[in-house]
Each structure stands twice: as C-alpha cells, then as structure tokens.
Point group: C2
Chain length 347, copies 2
DNA sequence: TTGAAAGCGCTAACAC
DNA sequence: GTGTTAGCGCTTTCAA
C-alpha cells in the first residue's frame, strides 16, 4: 500500500498521461478529477484516483501554474526579526493559507522600509504568487512596484498601490486606547507611553490610541519615549522614566519593552505595581508567569489572519463578487498583576 | 525609470521573447544572461539587461521550473506553534536560504508525529522544491514517503529515508550537559530535570545530556518531570517539585517552562536562586530582564541554519563533490541570576 | 559566442 | 460526460 514501493527508484516520475493510460481515460479527464471539476462519472473518478495512487503520482505544480496562469500560492512579506508578534501572526497566516488550499511563500524583511518591501514584493512576484500579504509595513515614503495580484495589508493602510488592495485591521488603536483607559480608570492622573520606533505604522497607531484616551479624559499628555521593540530599549527608557516622580503609569507598545521597563524601574527602587503601573502589548502568555505578571493588550492575530486570508482568497477566486462583510476583531485586555491604583499623593 | 510606467496595465506581461526581440538577440541568449551562463559577449549581455529593464520583464519561475526540472526553492517543515525557538530558527533559515539564492516554501506541522511530517513532506514535494528541511522532528515510528530530493534534518537524526540525507546538530546534548554541570559546579548534590514531551527527539537529547552530566559526577539521578514546552506545564511541574525539600537545582528543557517553574517555586515560598537554582534552555534575551534574570543555554540557531543550508545547497548543486567539513556549533551558557550555590544543608 | 527546434507536464478551448 | 488539439514561457539539446 505504500506509494511507490516496488517502483524502480530511477524511473522517471509518473505523469498525468501515465495515470490516464492506466485508468483508461484521457489526460483531460485526469485533470478534471484532480481539480475536482464537475462532469466526471463516478466510475471514471474512481479509476483515476486508483491509478494515481497505484503509480504514486504527484501532480506537477510548475506545469499547472504555467498552463493555468495560477500558482495556488500566496506570498507573505514578513517583517522584523523573531519577535513573538511576528512569529505568532505568521503561524496563523500559514494555517489560514493552508486551510484555504493554498501554498505559502515567505520573504522576510528585517527593516520594513519601502525599498526593502518593494524588493520583497518583486521577489515574490517573480517566484509566482496569486496574492501577497504584507504584514504591518512601516510607513515612510512610497513603494513603487508594478503589482497585478491582490495585496492584503495586515494591520496597516496600503503601503503601495496594487491592482486590488485589501486591508484588515488588528485593532491596535482600540487596544492601545483600552490599555490607557484601564490605567486612567485605576486613578492615575496620566499615563506615559513607551512607543515602538515611530517610523513604524504600528507604533503610530498605538500612540494615537493612547493619545485619544488621554484627550477623551482631559489628561495631561507627557512626552513620548521611543524604543525599538527590544527589552534593552525598554530598559533604557525605564531608567529615564524612573527618575521622574510624576510617572505612575506607563503603557508600553510591546510586551518585551514592558519587561525591560519594569526591570529598570525596580532597579531604581520603584515598585511595580505599587509605585508604577505598567501595561504591555501583544499578549504572550509566558509573561503571566513572571513577577509581577504583566497586564497586557492581546493582539487578535488569529482572527486577523483568518479574516484577511478569507478576503484575499475571495478576491483571487471570485474577483467579481462582493467581499463578505468584515468581522470586527475582538478587543481583549488581559488584566494581571502589573497594574494597580497610584500611590497616595505625596504633597 | 520606474519599471512598467507608461506600459498599458492590461497588456500581457512581457516574455523572454519580447526581451530577445528588443535586444536583437535570440531567446536562448536572453536565457543565458538571466542565468549567468558563460559564453555571452559583454555587448549582448548589456543589451539584454537593458531591454529587460525597459520592458519591466519578470522571469516566469513556473516555466523555468517546468523546463529545467529545478525550482530553486527549498521547502521547510516547521514544527510546533509560535515558540521562540521555532520562530528564531525559521528566521535564520529564511535568511540563509535567501542568501543562497533560493526561494522558501513553508509548511507548519503543529504536532510533529511521523504521519503529519509525511503529509507535510508530500505537500512540499508536490508544490515543487529542490530540497527539504525538517526541523527537530519527533521520533516515534517511521515516516514513509518517497523522497527524491535531498533532506536536511536540523537538530535530530533522520526521521525517514531519502535519496540523500543530511544532518546538522544543534548541540543540544552538549548544552544540556553544560547546563547541568554548571549547577553541579555550584555545589548542588544533584540536579532535577524538567523535560519537554518525551516523544520529541529534542527532549530526549537534552535529557541524555543532563543524565550524562550526572553520571560523570556520580550524582544521584532523580526522576524526570515531563512538560509540554508551555509555561503552564512548567508551572505545574514547579508545584510538584516545590514540595520536595531535596530539590535545590532544576534544569528545564525550555526557557518558557523555566519561567513557569520559577513562578510556582516562588508561590510555594521557595526563593530562586537562594533556595532553588534554575537553568533554562533556548536563550531568549527577554528573560535577562525578569527577576531573577534567567540563566540559560543558548541554542546556536543561526550557526545551525547557516551550516545546514550551506550543506544542503552544496548537495543540490554539486551532488558529486564532497561536502565541506562540518563546522561545530558554538556552545554558550548564559550565566545570569537564577543560579547560585545550594542553601546550607538543613540536617 | 550564438541560434533553431523540440519539449518540460499540465490545462483551456472547443469539439464530440 | 468525455476526448482532441494547441499552447503556457522557459531551457535543453545540438548545430552553426
């Protein structure tokens, strides 16, 4: 029963013609069966499947792509290095893509500036993809590529123009706002913000959510501190903020920066959460097990990936019909131990 | 200068024949230039490149693959969910693959049992790849697939037989041994072990490194506790171990399990590192910023990915020449604050 | 150093 | 329901 057993290993791989011959049908019928097309008798279908199995037949995707003009592959431009966020999003994208019956090509771009993104897109287009996913691109200038396949921008507005452009929000703005409001609700007079690199769209988005919350409550808007997503940058920011006694609450744009920040605060003798409250951003569950457990805003990576790929595949396969209505991603703030009411006011 | 500007967007994409025509050469010469083959005059090369640029020409990989039988693509069977280890390895593989001039296809397999791996390999083979990378497969039964491309097993022995099989070690055994020895050197009478799922090869490898260290020193071998890589499983294991006063040192097979473990120990009133020392495994730098900072064994992901892809590409391109000699991956134990000498003996 | 012809394995369009 | 014919865009002979 093991496919290929007994077949001479040096023999050329079987082609659809071999299957057709063995099944006693034409190549076209084989093709129909393999593509689940209608108008094939059950009997023919059965014989084809049996013959394919018996020969250990594997369809040649390159030939199919060449003949059909479609690759059944989705390309992803992944951003940044091995952070939890990127990795998590990628896993969910892979899953959604495979569920949809597509293959996945990935190109990573350590820095997501327009030029690198353009290069990555160009690479994917040349490799052959039916659509492209760009995750959280950095905004800063225009990307100029000729793109004739649909493009999905995850968690950011379009960074370049394509034939068909889709956008799926990851609700970062609302999450940032919810995180900030949580701190204000606890009684903090204001909330400081440790942002990601400000040239990243993701950073701006979170920053605006934070700012919107402060504006809505009429709270003072302290200057923003800029990090680079790394725990080291959070640590550096923490040293700075620790020296300012007015700082009682900080919203960090990433969990890892939050961890570095908390470490610096404690080194400076400021307790978390008794003296300073900290909220992170991402939702990595490992930070539930540190001391103090990190309160954080969970990004709905899975929902966003599913929804995005669903819309993308729809655009590939039924370009003329309307897209299904968007599903709003869930907003989830995970309350743990790093936040508390502010310390009593020290005249 | 922008490629494609001014070209009618609805016009068919230019083919190599169009480039040949514009450059005044044959299609074969265009092909030679694009593949960096010898025997092309500088003049012809220049004209071809210029024409390609002018037309915004993009080579069709599907056609090339069909004609040449080579895809210039490497497929990766990625294991597990979004852990730091997997993600980090993947990023380094992507980098190495791209440096080598290859494209990347990825199939993820949440559980790495033989059947899932066989399915993933089959999928990649059908999509078309020149080689396959299998990262840290689980051992448990045989995988039966007919594989006629070279396969690289990263951090584990071959999980199935292929035409050509390569192996690159991630030095987990040595790292586990070094981690255990570090604890013994501090004066601990023995070291407990929190392992990953024992059906994973990676778990067994680390377990054996731990056991080898104990054997070499003639230390008692306590029963192994089994986790599932998650911080929650580390936490559960920690509750168990905390109740045993003989436990003064634990080597955890993953950083995240170590974090959960430490949390449980502290909840039970056992201080880390004063009462119990803990060493993790992976090397995620964020855990340098928690309290206490985690001592851990850093896995040489980058070195292993580079070395593995280098050997794989050699096997694809020069199958008849000898492989370059293997480069031993570096062993790196990162000493931080979660380890200390054992507490004074309590008669 | 270059080119002409043949064909990679599949699907599209159209006949039956 | 099924088969026939003609390519998809490239590389591979092999000849010049």
């Amino acid at each position: 029963m093991t496919p290929g057993v007994g077949r001479n290993t040096d023999a050329p791989a079987p082609r659809s013609a071999d299957v057709a011959h063995l099944a006693g049908v034409s190549r076209k019928t084989v093709s129909r069966v393999l593509n689940n097309e209608p108008y094939v008798s059950d009997e023919a279908r059965r014989r084809v499947l049996e013959a394919a199995e018996q020969l250990g037949y594997r369809l040649n995707h390159a030939a199919r792509a060449l003949a059909s003009g479609r690759t059944r592959t989705i390309g992803v431009v992944a951003l940044g290095t091995a952070g939890y966020g990127t990795a998590s999003l990628l896993v969910h994208i892979e899953h959604a893509v495979r569920d949809a019956g597509y293959a996945l090509r990935i190109v990573n771009t350590p820095d997501g500036d327009p030029k690198s993104i353009a290069g990555a897109v160009e690479t994917l287009l040349e490799q052959g993809v039916d659509a492209i996913v760009v995750s959280e691109p950095v905004v800063e200038g225009e990307v100029s590529v000729r793109v004739d396949v649909p493009v999905l921008f995850l968690g950011a507005p379009p960074a370049f123009t394509a034939a068909r452009t889709l956008t799926v929000d990851i609700a970062a703005h609302q999450l940032a706002r919810a995180a900030t409001e949580h701190l204000l609700d606890l009684g903090h007079l204001t909330v400081h913000h440790l942002a990601g690199p400000l040239r990243w769209y993701a950073s701006k988005d979170r920053l605006e959510g934070w700012r919107a919350a402060l504006t809505a409550r009429g709270a003072r808007k302290p200057p923003v501190v800029e990090g680079d997503w790394s725990p080291a940058s959070g640590h550096a920011a923490g040293r700075e903020l620790a020296s300012d006694p007015d700082v009682t609450a900080v919203f960090a744009a990433g969990d890892e920066m939050a961890i570095g920040l908390i470490h610096a605060l404690r080194e400076a003798g400021r307790r978390v959460p008794q003296d300073v409250s900290v909220v992170g951003f991402d939702g990595n569950s490992v930070f539930a097990y540190i001391t103090p457990p990190l309160t954080t805003a969970r990004q709905p990576f899975q929902a966003a990936a599913r929804e995005g790929i669903r819309r993308l595949v729809h655009t590939i396969e039924k370009p003329d019909t309307d897209l299904p209505p968007p599903i709003d991603p869930p907003i989830e703030l995970i309350l743990r131990g790093s936040t508390a009411p502010p310390p009593p006011h020290q005249g």
